[in-house]
């Protein structure tokens, strides 16, 4: 196997707008695996909604392992002497606690304390201090540069320079070992380590968007196809399967992960000020560290902490088997309480589950509410007011997620 002829976006030519959408570095392999031949767009790239059957892909993610192309995820490299103070002013959590070789989930806010986006910060191993990668759903270069005034820091959008694959599921560790990544089992959750792969660096982080044992793999686009091939070769007896975005969405809702643009509106896209959300309103107060003297949104969030929040994002366990797509949530005496933002029939929890945003003071764990579900049966619409309950724990949280080293499946 050798480096591929993959031609990714050449942003230096400044003609990317003519291409509209690019094939991912994994495209040649995705094309073979994509039996449904349906493509969608994610940021700059072609993406696969489902390769052959979203349900079966989902079950691979829960019962064996599944491979998801996350190259389109927006990636920024932040370097320079002030990279740490810069990131600490940018995000609400304390990045100083993030040691090299560790990954942290973070949100960043505007000065109104409203979430612009969430993402993961990779403190890259081997770099001397200030070497970070920030992965996010939304493009952030403008805001990141706006925030750079007064800091000696370099910020580069490296979305197209880094190919990414998520390998998620119980057999994922065994597959990587089989592939020859000695010591991969020692990586703890949110750990990050570099390996040599066919003469190039392969970054492996124990992170993911499925709430299960899993890894994310980072490599130069030239070696993307080789990585795909090596993974599928190593995983052929461990049920390795390509995973599309529909299955991933099921996995992430079970894991209780929120999605920008779905469960909250990024603050810079909002026209109406009441349509944005603070970290508190997204259940992310654990990410807000007031022990830092300065970060964007601090003043507003301190005020919110004192005054109280407007909304609360909750997990709902809904009775019955109907999926509560985009439903209204009511109190038991039928007063408006909120809306559902993500919902599904959870095969693992064997329940109709949802993420919802409720008006305060609703949403305390254990609160019983009603969900108004419209559903169609043999072309006939019906409605049910399904009782539901606010639950505290996520719907999928297996012990193997945190176990180090993971058991050999």
């Amino acid at each position: 196997m050798s480096a591929s002829n993959y031609q990714g976006p050449d942003l230096k030519a400044r003609d990317h707008f003519k291409h509209h959408v690019y094939p991912s570095p994994f495209h040649a392999r995705q094309k073979e695996a994509n039996k449904l031949k349906v493509w969608s767009r994610w940021a700059d790239y072609l993406s696969v909604p489902a390769y052959f059957d979203a349900s079966l892909e989902y079950f691979a993610g829960r019962n064996s392992c599944a491979v998801f192309d996350l190259t389109p995820m927006i990636k920024h490299r932040v370097t320079g002497p002030d990279a740490l103070p810069y990131l600490n002013r940018l995000v609400t959590r304390d990045v100083a606690k993030l040691k090299p070789g560790r990954v942290g989930y973070a949100v960043w806010c505007n000065e109104g304390g409203q979430v612009i986006d969430d993402g993961t910060i990779f403190h890259l191993p081997g770099g001397q201090g200030g070497n970070y990668r920030v992965c996010s759903q939304e493009r952030q270069l403008d805001w990141f540069l706006t925030c750079a005034d007064g800091f000696d820091v370099s910020i580069v959008d490296e979305t197209h320079e880094v190919a990414g694959l998520a390998l998620q599921g119980p057999t994922s560790c065994a597959v990587l070992k089989q592939m020859g990544l000695a010591g991969v089992e020692e990586i703890t959750p949110f750990g990050l380590r570099n390996f040599d792969f066919q003469g190039t660096t392969l970054g492996v982080s124990r992170t993911g968007y499925t709430g299960d044992l899993g890894y994310e793999l980072w490599i130069a686009p030239s070696h993307a196809e080789a990585l795909w091939d090596a993974l599928f070769e190593a995983g052929k007896h461990r049920g390795i399967t390509a995973l599309g975005s529909e299955a991933l969405d099921m996995l992430r809702v079970e894991a209780g992960f929120i999605l920008a643009g779905v469960d909250f509106l990024p603050a810079q896209e909002a026209v109406r000020p009441t349509h944005t959300r603070s970290p508190f309103e997204l259940g992310l107060e654990w990410l807000v560290d007031f022990n830092k003297p300065i970060f964007n949104g601090r003043r507003a969030l301190l005020a919110e902490k004192e005054k109280g929040s407007r909304y609360r994002l909750v997990k709902l366990d809904i009775s019955g088997n109907k999926v509560a797509h985009d439903s209204y949530v009511y109190t038991k005496d039928k007063k408006y309480a909120g809306t559902i933002t993500s919902s599904m029939w959870s095969p693992s929890a064997k329940a109709s589950i949802a993420l919802a945003t409720l008006d305060m003071p609703h949403g305390a764990p254990g609160e019983e509410l009603l969900v108004e579900i419209y559903y169609k049966r043999e072309l006939k619409w019906s409605r049910v007011m399904a009782p539901c309950k606010v639950v505290e724990n996520v719907f999928w949280d297996p012990p193997r997620k945190k176990q180090t080293p993971p058991a050999d499946f």
Binding site: D82, N110, E111, T146, D149, G150, P293, I294, N296
Partner: protein, 516 residues
């Protein structure tokens, strides 16, 4: 909480603020970088034996209440000349003469005379609406706080109380350009040129720029006891105002230290804790008030990284580049202006023969050039105050536009060339002026920036426009004198109600601090 307050900068607003805070029992330390107090409101020597108001050279905005409350007259402030008239110069000698009541001169037709009455009526009426805002702390942006909503409602009511027709007219013209308003009312080009100059003095505005009506109203909005926009010259120059303010502040108990430049504002976790001087000395206080301009305060003294990015971004993009130069001439005798008697030289003289002339002058500054034919506001204060020059000799002080802060190729090369343009233009009106000149000083915005420590060298600290006024001044969420940084306050021209030697920003800031 201690009682100590540190004020950075001893400009007139800093001194006013010091007085009111000291009178309220605060332990005030005021730190001035220069040897002389007053900021850009000073009188200083520029050639042996010749002194001049080096920054502001006319008093038209000093708040009468402040003058009384601080007893400035008792501290030596008196006027050498009051209700000074204005003469709009015509190279051929057919000048126009303005006094408080109207305008006279050759070439005016009936529409001009009638228009002037009406123009003065509505402009002073509208200016009064703006003037009423000067001594108020603006409401916050986007709050539902009762006090803030009440303040907005009060403003709305005051506009409504103009009466139906005048309210409509106010709302129509407040944000538009002076060029159109003058065209609507007058025929005489010299008259329109002079009134256009009034609107754009000290700004980066042309007669055709929006906001130029607003800038004109602001100039007329002072409560200085002489009627809207009335001009006076203090005895001893504008520095006399600062001297009186300093005396009042000292008497009230403020500790005033000159030659004490501040290096940075100190933070204790998320609150200010004092300042560090260039000398390395640290002074501690829970409250720090900055008379410095917003960019100096936030980006230099505090540092962009110590404030939230949104605020840093807005401050960075505050329009604060000066476009006005200051000319000082030491004269061996009075120059002869075409068509003017010697007795008339004590009035304010304007060079702005038409609106088009002013507009052309402005065009250059858009592209980083100085005006090929600049506009002037000229005073010869030594006529009223012989202490400014040796016996029989005189000083001329002129505001000259447009001279952009960032001149192409820099002022190092441009200053001599612009001085020549300035003298050449002047000699069209006063042919013998070059023979009378003993010494020349031209302060470019760069010089003003250096001498008075104003980032950008803009005499208002930040462009005076509706989007940088009242609750939006200098930028949203800093408009109430306290800033998003705990314990840090602003009291300079960059805050409401802006520049011009008014003192209201200093008093409003003191009130905001005392009210806490």
């Amino acid at each position: 909480m201690t009682n100590a307050v540190i004020i950075i900068g001893g400009g007139h607003n800093g001194l006013v603020c010091a007085s009111y805070l000291a009178k309220a029992g605060r332990k005030v330390t005021l730190l001035e970088a220069n040897t002389q107090l007053g900021g850009a409101c000073i009188t200083r020597e520029f050639a042996p034996g010749f002194t001049v108001s080096a920054g502001a050279h006319l008093n038209y905005l000093l708040d009468d209440e402040i003058r009384k409350e601080l007893g400035l007259d008792g501290h030596g402030l008196s006027m050498a000349a009051e209700k000074i008239g204005t003469i709009a110069l015509n190279p051929a000698g057919e000048h126009l003469y303005f006094d408080g009541d109207g305008v006279g001169g050759e070439g005016l037709n009936a529409r001009d005379l009638k228009g002037m009455k009406e123009y003065q009526r509505f402009m002073s009426k509208f200016a009064a609406v703006i003037g009423k805002l000067h001594n108020r702390t603006p409401p916050r942006v986007g709050t539902s706080d009762r006090g803030d909503l009440f303040a907005l409602a009060k403003l709305a009511l005051e506009i409504r109380l103009l009466g139906r027709d005048d309210m409509r007219e106010f709302l129509r013209i407040a944000a538009i350009n002076i060029y159109d308003v003058l065209q609507e009312n007058f025929d005489n080009e010299l008259l329109k040129g002079a009134l256009a100059l009034e609107a754009v003095l000290g700004t980066k505005l042309a007669p055709r720029s929006n906001n130029s009506v607003f800038a004109a109203l602001h100039r007329m909005s002072g409560n200085n006891g002489g009627g809207a926009g009335a001009l006076s010259i203090p005895k001893g120059g504008m520095g006399a105002i600062s001297d009186a303010l300093a005396a009042a502040a000292r008497k009230a108990g403020a500790d005033i230290r000159t030659q004490s430049p501040v290096k940075r504002i100190l933070m204790d976790f998320d609150k200010v804790s004092g300042v560090e001087l260039e000398s390395g000395e640290q002074l501690l206080a829970d409250v720090v008030v900055s008379n410095a301009d917003p960019k100096t305060t936030f980006l230099d003294l505090l540092g962009a990284r110590n404030i939230e990015a949104g605020l840093a971004h807005r401050i960075k993009h505050l329009r604060s580049k000066g476009n006005t130069a200051k000319l000082h001439l030491a004269l061996s005798g009075l120059p002869n202006f075409e068509g003017l008697e010697t007795a008339q030289l004590g009035q304010r003289l304007l060079i702005a023969p038409s609106q088009e002339y002013v507009d052309h002058a402005f065009n250059h500054c858009k592209y980083g050039e100085f005006s090929a034919r600049p506009v002037f506001e000229i005073t010869i204060p030594s006529i009223h105050d012989s202490s400014l020059a040796p016996a029989g000799q005189h000083v001329l002080s002129a505001v000259v536009q447009y001279a952009p802060r960032d001149l192409n190729n820099g002022w190092g090369n441009g200053k001599a060339a612009f001085t020549e343009v300035v003298m050449d233009t002047l000699s069209h009106y006063a042919p013998d002026i070059r023979q009378k000149v003993v010494a020349t000083e031209l302060l470019t915005p760069e010089d003003i920036e250096k001498e008075f420590h104003i980032n950008g060298g803009h005499w208002h600290h930040a462009e005076l426009a509706m989007d940088q006024f009242f609750m939006l001044r200098p930028v949203p969420y800093t408009g109430q004198y306290h800033t998003p940084v705990n314990g840090l306050y602003l009291c300079g021209a960059g805050s409401h109600p802006g520049g011009g030697v008014m003192g209201s920003a200093g008093r409003n800031a003191a009130r905001a601090i005392i009210g806490k």
